[in-house]
């Protein structure tokens, strides 16, 4: 049993997806990661989705670059909520993947997050938010996470007030 299925179109996407895995680990949410391509192994994509449904998954995260069909193809295969992560490519910087994922036609929704690492992390947090609907324990963890984020900003600001900008920047280099 696992709560989140993560599918990537290529194993070269895995370093970015570590950001997703890390946050799910922090929230102690079980997940499975699969390499399966909408274009190269469409049957494996289907099988992975079926496996997720059987294992009680509540969310699927799909990450892909370029003409990123994977999230939409996954969303067409299931009624589970699907989160799409557009990945950067060299030539156009990820705007191709973003539009390929977010501009889904009527009927098949994909919840799209930011391009690259930031999106990979936020995909995990959005998945946890979805799983936390009707799960007060998980909601509390999210509240705690949010407070920790706020504290971290506060600490940085306090340090900045103490050091001034020049020393702060020097120290961080």
């Amino acid at each position: 049993m696992y709560s989140v299925l993560i599918i990537v179109g290529s194993d070269s996407d895995l370093p970015v997806i570590e950001n997703t895995a890390k946050i799910l680990d922090d929230f102690q949410v079980k997940y499975k990661i699969r390499v399966a391509s909408a274009h190269r192994t469409p049957d494996k994509v289907k099988a992975s989705v079926r496996d997720a449904e059987k294992n009680g998954a509540g969310v699927i995260i799909a990450a892909a670059g370029m003409a990123a069909a994977l999230p939409g193809v996954v969303a067409a295969e299931t009624v589970l909520p699907v989160i799409g992560v557009p990945l950067e490519s060299k030539a156009i910087g990820g705007i191709d993947a973003l539009l390929s994922i977010v501009q889904m036609p009527k009927g098949i929704p994909v919840g799209t997050v930011a391009i690259g690492k930031t999106g990979a992390a936020n995909a995990a947090l959005l998945a946890v938010r979805i799983l936390a609907v009707g799960n007060p324990g998980l909601s509390k963890k999210l509240e705690a996470y949010r407070k920790k984020m706020a504290s971290s900003v506060e600490e940085k600001d306090s340090r900045l007030q103490k050091l001034g900008i020049k020393k702060y920047v020097l120290e961080k280099q």
Copy 2:
């Protein structure tokens, strides 16, 4: 009590949001729509979010155009999953709203859907998918919806095979 809060930044966004409301009605999912602006009435945004939490809402849909801060500001106020709908504006066609909503910084996720009417409809479907996690009745309705969509495509194709493209196009005009 209601399951989905829909917030729009301006009442001029309501015609687009009718696409969201219609689908939620079809699924018999209760929702509340509020006009509240991240920039003009930030306190009302907060109050609407609190009201949604108290009324047991499981998802918030936020729609805005141009420098569309609303979905992000809502996501910063709650741990409920937030869906962002970028709206078209005259000069740049909605790419401003899309980037303002999807490129959220790490920590505050917004699941973004397509620009305009299509996105407004898909926001409703994504909300239903989220509410259907652990709700087999709603899941079945989604399966039925998907089958109906497929049948509708099949019917159109059958009609096309029967009429040929010229007559089909003429008939639809």
Copy 3:
């Protein structure tokens, strides 16, 4: 038996695809048009491709708008050459469909043509060029088509030399 399969994601794409059909008619190339969506009826897409292969088709043309996954999904299902036609959508003018079709990952090629009507016509001509490989009769028709295009430009130029630009423009209005 037919030589070209044309798949469109939605029947609203058919008026644009009439430009494709007309040119194939002119070249007396047999074709079949199907409405089948990569997201709404993936199985129908597969079945249509299988049918094309059984009927001896040599090329598949797939047209779609927005997050246009159809051409790539078709190309993943067959080893026939696939031509993708990106269609215009209201908000971003077709750049979403263009990038979703042309930026295919390594291994699954789609030959992409221009956005909208022009691309729909050129998809037919590219299909005929492909079918004409090793078919001298069809090649001659293409040569004839090219000469006719050239003559048409020549005639317009002659008329322009005769009338001058003012009268020419007035006459055409």
Copy 4:
């Protein structure tokens, strides 16, 4: 008491903001820099704005990247003039931040400057221009700054006339 409040959404923005600080130092304009995020610490943003108003600040500079809501959120909190600095991000080069800051809806203006370091420096100069309204001493400093800029261009041109382009370029490397 200070004249300019500078808010950045993240401490990783501070190296860019050093360009702002340096120019305000040159003009002997007092400022305070705070790390406060529109999404992670909205209350801190409010508190910082209130503090600026109490301390007689005349301008607020807000810098942020990606879906850069900070400048707009600040502008919604105060009637002081707000200057927005869009910061570069890796994937799309800052066009996301630019549109998120400049395309503000009617009623809440943000004066936006160029992306990145150049904008950070110009934000300081625009702030000084605003503070100089009705402050002849500061106006004179701005005139002097402008003359110095012009002289620096003149000197470079003189040197170029003397050395020729090849030597000039070599010397600068």
Copy 5:
């Protein structure tokens, strides 16, 4: 004597600039509007700026479309704060004017607002904010304006709660 100089590059820009004039009228701020082109009448631009300085103006608003050099050229002529309004053009929708105004080189700042009518209105509000620095009377008017905006949103929301979305949208058509 007047407080704001508004320069437009062409008289065809005046309908958009009426949005600026109307708001300045509402705030009882005196202004002068001039048609003067950076490219066609550079000397008139200079003379207009000199006139503004002599008449005690505190802000200059410059609006232009396409390769919109006017705001930058004005900013180079004065140390008054300059607000740039990018105007829409037919072919590229105003992104040309936006980049031509906002991407000013170091040393010559222009505070840029949104493209078109929205920006024209916000330019007036930003000008008032600048003039209100050290002018409590004007600050209070701005606070009142903000409250009125908020009330207007509240009223629309109340009406929406009363009518429901269908009737509300019908009524507005």
Copy 6:
């Protein structure tokens, strides 16, 4: 004998090119307009260029839309200066033609002007500027043209000062 050759890729471009013709008429500069396509009638393009060289033409203006190869192909055929006019197309608004014309590889320069009607007019003026090098009579006409443009701006400004913005805008409608 004629001084300027104007080539358009299609007779549908002629209404835009009337703006070019009108200005050349005003300057009493002789020109010839030809419809000749880089892709459909490459030999005619060559022949037109040869004819221009024989007739003493000093400049060639080439206008085209979409994948606008014509100006570059013309520039490859001659050592005369070539001016390229990118034309608007429906889907992407002319950015395709602009990049296809301006981004010429090293060795084959094309002087590119603005998209559409404005560019068509400016192409004529740039051609006259080129022909005026070493032709004092033509230079004087250009000076006169510039003064007339300036006067026209002055007149509009005077009228605006007299009428005020409301009446001016009403009167122009």
Copy 7:
């Protein structure tokens, strides 16, 4: 005799085109590579196309960057199917080449593939698909290639299941 002609506009494009050559080698498809520029050596382009036709070539692949006229110029010279590969350039990342190749006017089709290396590889695969029409031996090789691709994805996924994401990523570095 050879089956595919590959033309590049500059020898600096050859490293990218090695991706094309390698795949054609794998399929034992004979090809010829020529350096010939649409702008610098238009006659050589023509001669290369004629040579290809005489040698029984069935497809032409043309690769170029910036204002990439080559594929269109080749398509205008022949009735063979032409595949265009847009190459990256430093300043705009290849969007210039993409639009210059894909937005061909009606009558002259170019089947365009992705920007850069990925497109160069896919151009070869599309060429093989075209040559395989009516060539069952080549079709079988394509099927085998597709299976190998799928197996490679499967193997990576198996390894990922065995190692977990952390070890997998470490091992690949």
Copy 8:
């Protein structure tokens, strides 16, 4: 006396402009290079233009980055033909400079070339083409230059035929 004036907005643009200077040197065309900024030293720009006119210059080349007003401001100051070179900037890659230069309003034409080094070289060649109008000696040099370019392509192609692609690419590294 000199034939071409080259103006750059900043001495940091000089390394790119060396490409312009080198080609003018090759053609033995006299030129003067000045550092003068449209925004920082507008009077120097004017003076440089006047100096060019007095020294018999036939063309002015102006290069600038970001909100690149310089070429337009120069074109407004003279009736000489003006060539604009858009320079790359870090954040948006030069599209800002390109639009700021090419989208000139009606009446003030600037012949724009490609972004960066390629454009800098082509600006020189376009200047020579302009100066060669009515100068057969210079025209012959341009013809010779074109032949040399063609020969260089031919030589590379011959070498490629001899070595094959693998060795050719290895040798060039």
